[in-house]
């Protein structure tokens, strides 16, 4: 997003696919066609190997022992923090990266640890109609608890945010919390512009990067974010680890989140002193192997090149949109913006009036993995006037043949529900 995409040397998907063991399996005697990366991505063997090697040679709890493996584990864990920080252009990776369970926990951390200290009854938080429940429910919970006001930026017919009312919505607002890319529509929101407007009103900018970080070149400074949340398993890493990046001065001035071991400096029977950031927010034994795996995923993405990944996925998304329209005509509807610079590789599809569950069921017989449902964005579903969609989403390992199989499967739906 921050960098122009210019790639002379395109991705060799055929070679890259060999890194992903799961792509070698068959489903119902057909090769698997994995089009559900927006939900969870696949892991290259490099990530799996790094985690296995960690458990086989270095495993110990971090931050405590003085023996060699404990020191080794701590170094790997803290090294992962620095690596992830550099990946998103964090100015102070050692202090600004908090490891969480997933992006959801990272967003809950902000709503609670920052929100409860700095927000009071009547303060306004600006959200959008396209937010994932993870950037919606924590704020609704806070509204219930302390009576903050929630304002929503609407979504237009093309699946883009209506920004005409942005200035008005930001009037007196304390927070703008927005997804950088919709997990339903693929819309890439103009976060830098929105963040600039929010900052002019003195609001703090919370960005849900669960979809954007794996599929764009991210620099938190260019993004204009104050907080950025994302998940490891959506970016070729393992499940069980997420990331919160926050500007150091904001993290400093926050209440602790979960209490327990590791997050304290001192504890007495009547009081405690929290640890320094980022450990202040990491109670209990952290996801060490997962951090090692995430660092390996970052190395992998870095080795392939994020610019090349973005270029590949953009071309493939354009191919998919064209091919679906050309070969299925009016039978197929794709929600969200047309192919272009603000269109990520998430395709919410309707086929005739066949229910998304039935679509996904037929596609499964072709080995095609898509997700039916509301995608944890029920308010957006209401806005679109549907209960559910069938969502196909691309990753770096997908190619045109995957899209062709998707279309073959969709064509077969007509013969079952004709």
């Amino acid at each position: 997003m921050a960098h122009a995409v210019s790639v002379k040397d395109p991705l060799d998907v055929e070679v890259l696919r060999k890194d992903f063991p799961l792509l070698a399996r068959t489903v119902h005697d057909r090769p698997i066609v994995y089009l559900d990366s927006a939900s969870s991505s696949l892991q290259p063997r490099q990530v799996l190997a790094a985690m296995e090697q960690y458990y086989e040679t270095t495993h110990a709890n971090v931050h405590r022992g003085v023996y060699a493996t404990a020191e080794g584990a701590t170094e790997l864990y803290e090294g992962a923090r620095r690596k992830v920080g550099r990946f998103i252009g964090a100015p102070d990776p050692k202090r600004e990266i908090v490891f969480t369970k997933n992006a959801t926990e990272a967003l809950n951390l902000v709503a609670n640890a920052w929100g409860r200290r700095h927000l009071k009854r009547g303060d306004a938080v600006v959200l959008t109609e396209m937010e994932h429940h993870s950037n919606l429910v924590p704020w609704l919970m806070l509204a219930e608890a302390i009576g903050i006001e929630l304002r929503y930026l609407p979504v237009d017919a093309d699946g883009r945010l209506e920004l005409d009312g942005l200035e008005r919505a930001l009037e007196g607002a304390r927070v703008l919390a927005v997804s950088a890319m919709s997990n339903v529509l693929g819309t890439i929101n103009p976060v830098p512009t929105m963040a600039e407007a929010a900052h002019a009103h003195g609001a703090v900018v919370v960005v849900d990067g669960a979809q954007s970080v794996p599929h764009s070149v991210v620099d938190v400074k260019a993004l204009g974010a104050d907080f950025l949340a994302f998940s490891g398993h959506k970016m070729q890493g393992p499940t069980g680890i997420g990331v919160l990046w926050g500007r150091a001065e904001l993290l400093e001035d926050m209440a602790p989140f979960l209490g327990g071991g590791g997050m304290i400096l001192d504890v007495r029977l009547d009081r405690f002193t929290p640890a320094e950031i980022p450990w202040k927010f990491e109670a209990g034994t952290p996801p060490i192997a997962e951090a090692v795996g995430l660092a390996a995923a970052v190395d992998y993405l870095h080795g392939v090149g994020m610019e090349r990944i973005v270029a590949h996925e953009r071309l493939l998304t354009a191919y998919a949109i064209d091919a679906l329209h050309e070969r299925l005509g009016g039978d197929c509807r794709i929600y969200g913006p047309p192919a272009g610079g603000d269109r990520g590789g998430v395709l919410s599809i309707a086929y005739r009036d066949v229910h998304p569950h039935d679509l996904a069921q037929v596609l499964d017989q072709f080995g095609v993995c898509v997700r039916p449902g509301h995608h944890c964005a029920k308010p957006l579903m209401h806005r679109l006037g549907v209960n559910a969609t069938a969502r196909a989403s691309v990753g770096l390992y997908n190619d045109e043949a995957d899209i062709d199989t998707l279309i073959e499967g969709l064509s077969h739906v007509g013969t079952v529900f004709g």
């Binding site: 998304p356 569950h357 509301h374």
Partner: protein
């Protein structure tokens, strides 16, 4: 694709395309009960008219996939006008059919269900058209779609009984 044909049998598709007892009844005298599948957004709204120990009338509204909607339609046709005791029995039989022992699904399935207690043998032949939904058990994630309206019916009858 034999598995698909087993799931989407003609009777099921017929009830999906032309649902029976579609609509709602005025409340009161009818009792209204809703069922939601929070995972997929399917919903069913039942209107139940109970009198003299009978389910006099039933209407089904809502939206969802072919399995959830046809199951609601098939259910309404099966239970309408029946004594409540029979309806309760059908609910039990249907739910048993939907929790059939994994081992009976065929050799290509991993069982891992040795601890599961075999359900009492029930006579599915009395289920009539409802037996068409038996194919659903081969697709475990769709079982919730098939049982959605039955769970709502069970809840609705409990609510009626307690008022």
């Amino acid at each position: 694709m034999p598995d698909l044909e087993e799931l989407y049998r003609e009777i099921i598709l017929d009830h999906y395309r032309s649902p029976r007892n579609r609509g709602e009844l005025p409340v009161p005298p009818a009792h209204r009960v809703e069922g939601f599948n929070p995972l997929c957004g399917d919903e069913v709204v039942l209107s139940l008219e109970v009198a003299d120990g009978e389910l006099r009338d039933i209407k089904v509204a809502g939206s969802g996939c072919s399995i959830s909607q046809s199951s609601g339609s098939l259910m309404s046709a099966a239970v309408k006008g029946r004594p409540l005791s029979e309806v309760r029995e059908m609910i039990k039989t249907f739910k048993t059919m939907m929790t059939v022992h994994e081992a009976s699904l065929g050799d290509d399935r991993t069982t891992g269900a040795e601890d599961a207690v075999d359900p009492e043998p029930l006579d599915f032949s009395k289920m009539g058209e409802l037996a068409a939904l038996q194919g659903v058990v081969k697709f475990p994630v769709r079982i919730k779609c098939a049982t959605l309206s039955w769970n709502a019916l069970s809840q609705g009858l409990d609510e009626v009984a307690s008022t």
